[in-house]
Amino acid sequence: MTAGRLLLLAPLVYLGLFFLYPLAAILQRSLVGDAGLDLASFRSVLGDPYYLGRIWFTIWQALVSTLLALALGLPAAYLFARYEFPGKVFLKALTTVPFVMPTIVVAMGFVALFGSQGLLNTSLMDLFGLDTPPIRITNTLTIILMAHAFYNYAIVVRIVSALWSNLDPHLEETARMLGAGRLRTFGKVTLPLLLPAIASSALLAFAFSFTSFGVVLILGGAQFATLEVTIYELTAKLFRLPLAGALSVVQIVFTYLFLLLYVRLQERSAVRLDLKPQSATVRQRNRMGDRVFIAAMILALFVILSPLMALVERAFSSGDGYSLAHFARLFSNEQGSYFYVSPARIMLNSLRFALATVAVSLVVGTIVAYFLSRPGRRGKGVFDALFMLPLGVSAVTLGFGFILALNRPPLDLRGSWVILVIAHSLVAYPFVIRSLLPVLRGLPPNLREAAAVLGASAARVFIFIDVPIIARALMVGATFAFAVSMGEFGASLLLVRPDFTTMPIAIFRFLGQPGGANLGQALAMSSLLMAVVALGFIVIERFRYRNVGEF
């Protein structure tokens, strides 16, 4: 037991040093002035109509984004839950791709589709011989909301269709037989039973939109800023750290409220359902109306995915035709100019940091998951909550905390790439825990006991019994960690040094530069990032245990 406790010490030190300490630094910076406790920064945030406006904007745009995500996601969830059609598995994987896409890729997708040189505008200008782009929605609220809906509807689809596809269709049919029409059956039976899933997916979508950074920063222009963007500006551009600290605290309070609500909902969703295996609930429908619905939904899903397709199209299009010119430029670095390092080097950086992140997350995540899965230890709920805390803190806040806390010897990491890996792994390791836990909890204890009785040492039991069984869950967790690191934007933007720029940061910098060549390179690099993440997503889909895992 003592060895096990000792092992747990490592994640605890890691969490304390790199998460709790930076958080405390934020609190300290925002609460403590020259003469002890000082609420001045809070007063200036909560008394200033500008900041109140930011808070209000953050809330209501998240609300609208969530509603849009639900409006898109629920019909799709119904489609995947109750219909069988050729290519369904593939289509479902495809439509839930946005779930794992880096925000920067999503933002670039919208630029590629709706931007002044985007696919829609250039096509329309060619078609009707126009001189100016007819669609001008960049830097508007519309495009922000659209991007948020795009980003979050996949969460709704995943969570809701999982429950829906296992819901006993006899419940609905019984309601019909008792005299209820389709609408009333949906309202009185289906909807109440789905509500826990709908509510938790909505809460997640809300939380993501609430802390949205990359999308708002890139698509919103100067006019729109969420709390997250405001914190970034106060930190990186205006250097008003106490104010940034106060806003961070406000945001943390909000996100933890959502998370608390989410956890409560998950517990309360224990209306005990007699869930059926999916094969029992799916029916082949051959009615005309059903076919029209399926066809319309598939079409709609492709429209939803069009930003990602536009991204690829734009990345390959140069001048009049298609070529690899943008990609070639990534590897030639003919300009040399703004960047100290070549794009190829940047991609290598991203890959390196991602692999390091995977390693750290796997170690931390596996130890914690093992500890949490062992039965009968007191205070495990507290540990679970403690190690999930990083999920609730936004990336920019984390980066901000690092700037405040990890800048003095012996913990001066600002000049080192290690700081990026630490930031990424803090965001990533909760995913490892969440993929491992259900599998570990389902591991029959007598399997290990049988091996022990046969004379295997603890280490051999772990290697020959545990590892093969949890290998797939580890693979899923590792892939999540990889995707998170590759796409991480908010914390990196604050912490990054030119010589270890990552792909998302480089894309952002390309965008900040004038000229078609820079846009082209941003598109090309976004496409590469998308390809890498999509590949990872395929791995996840391939390796996840059916119906197991919490994401």
Binding site: A175, G179, A180, R272, D274, R287
Partner: protein, 360 residues
């Protein structure tokens, strides 16, 4: 007069004909048991009548009105699934009240009717219980109360007792029949258990591979099973192929048991090639350790006891006769000497109990 009339209804799933030109009628207050093995199309037939599936051909009518275009909620039928499908997010009261509330009955009327039904199923104080707090039998009765609440014109029950253990089933069968008869609702009751069917039914319908193979009262069906499938479903075990080799006032047949005579009224004519499926009623077989010395004109065979099976109140003997095997009752006389496996016995079969069946 028939209330429900199903004529020539069919339904295919892909290449599988789940229901194949089925016709049936049900009179007012009649309780019909639909019997058949799992996968024979019973459930699909109920779903077609309920309107939950669209028929490929054929029609369902009630009181002379065709219902093919009517949606499930417009038919005024009730359907109880095997898994009961109680609404997990409602309490017992809410479940029973569901069909009343959708009909916009007044609050007091709903309460009155729910109380009435909970009393009917003998669960008067259970209104506020959560569904998952109930035992298997209680859930079953709540589902019945819920199905009966809107006073359906026809109630269909799809193996409602299928998930319960034997003892509970036996006690609930009687209760369910009593309740259905008290309410007077026309019912179709699906089961694959013949004892249950005999205990419940006014009339029986046998279904196999999507088709109705026989209908009638339990007595009629038992007296004259339409084919080998029905006979086996009814518990007849002595069924074997044979061939007619001679004919005078009775048939002379050859089968694995040897040469036998069959004189009773036949259920099926022999085929042109003389092939028949022979059914021998267990009740007409006598086994004795002594050589037979009774009146002539009987089929007298000799065999070896293979097994002696205890069936609770009585023994059944498996006797090897010729190349075949007969399942025979064992009277106290037969058993008097402590009959054991391996002993030689004489087996006497009444000729009028040897009957020809339609093979299947």
């Amino acid at each position: 007069m028939a209330l429900l009339e199903v004529s020539g209804i069919s339904k295919s799933f892909g290449t599988v004909k789940a229901v194949d030109r089925v016709s049936l009628t049900a009179g007012p207050g009649e309780l019909i048991c639909l019997l058949g093995p799992s996968g024979c199309g019973k459930t699909t037939l109920l779903r077609l009548i309920a309107g939950l599936e669209d028929a490929d051909e054929g029609a369902v009518s009630f009181e002379g009105r065709e219902l093919n275009r009517a949606r499930p909620q417009q038919r005024g039928f009730g359907l109880m699934f095997q898994d009961l499908a109680l609404f997990p997010h409602m309490d017992v009261f809410g479940n029973v009240a569901f069909g009343l509330r959708v009909r916009h009955l007044s609050r007091s009327r709903v309460r009155e009717r729910v109380d009435e039904l909970l009393a009917l199923v003998d669960m008067p104080a259970y209104g506020r219980r959560r569904v998952h707090e109930l035992s298997g039998g209680e859930r079953q009765r709540v589902a019945l109360a819920r199905a009966l609440a809107p006073a359906p014109r026809l109630l269909m029950l799809d193996e409602p007792l299928g998930s319960l253990d034997r003892a509970l089933r036996d006690s609930l069968q009687g209760q369910v029949r009593a309740i259905l008869k008290e309410v007077g609702v026309t019912s179709i009751y699906v089961t694959h258990d013949r004892d249950e069917a005999f205990a419940m039914a006014d009339s029986l319908l046998f279904m196999n591979r999507g088709r109705i193979v026989q209908s009638g009262t339990p007595e009629e069906v038992f007296a004259a099973p339409a084919d080998e499938f029905v006979a086996r479903s009814l518990g007849f075990t002595n069924i074997l192929p044979g061939r007619v080799v001679g004919r005078s006032d009775s048939f002379k047949i050859e089968c694995d048991l040897g040469i036998m005579f069959a004189s009773g009224p036949q259920l099926e004519k022999p085929g042109d090639d003389g092939r028949v499926t022979v059914l021998i009623d267990e009740k007409a077989i006598a086994v004795s350790t002594a050589p037979y010395d009774g009146p002539s004109g009987k089929n007298v065979l000799s065999g070896t006891v293979k097994e002696k099976l205890f069936r609770g109140r009585e023994y059944v003997l498996k006797v090897r006769v010729g190349l075949g095997e007969l399942s025979c009752p064992a009277t106290p006389d037969t058993l008097a000497g402590g009959l054991k496996a391996g002993e030689q016995v004489s087996v006497v079969v009444e000729p009028d109990a040897v009957r020809f069946l339609k093979g299947s």
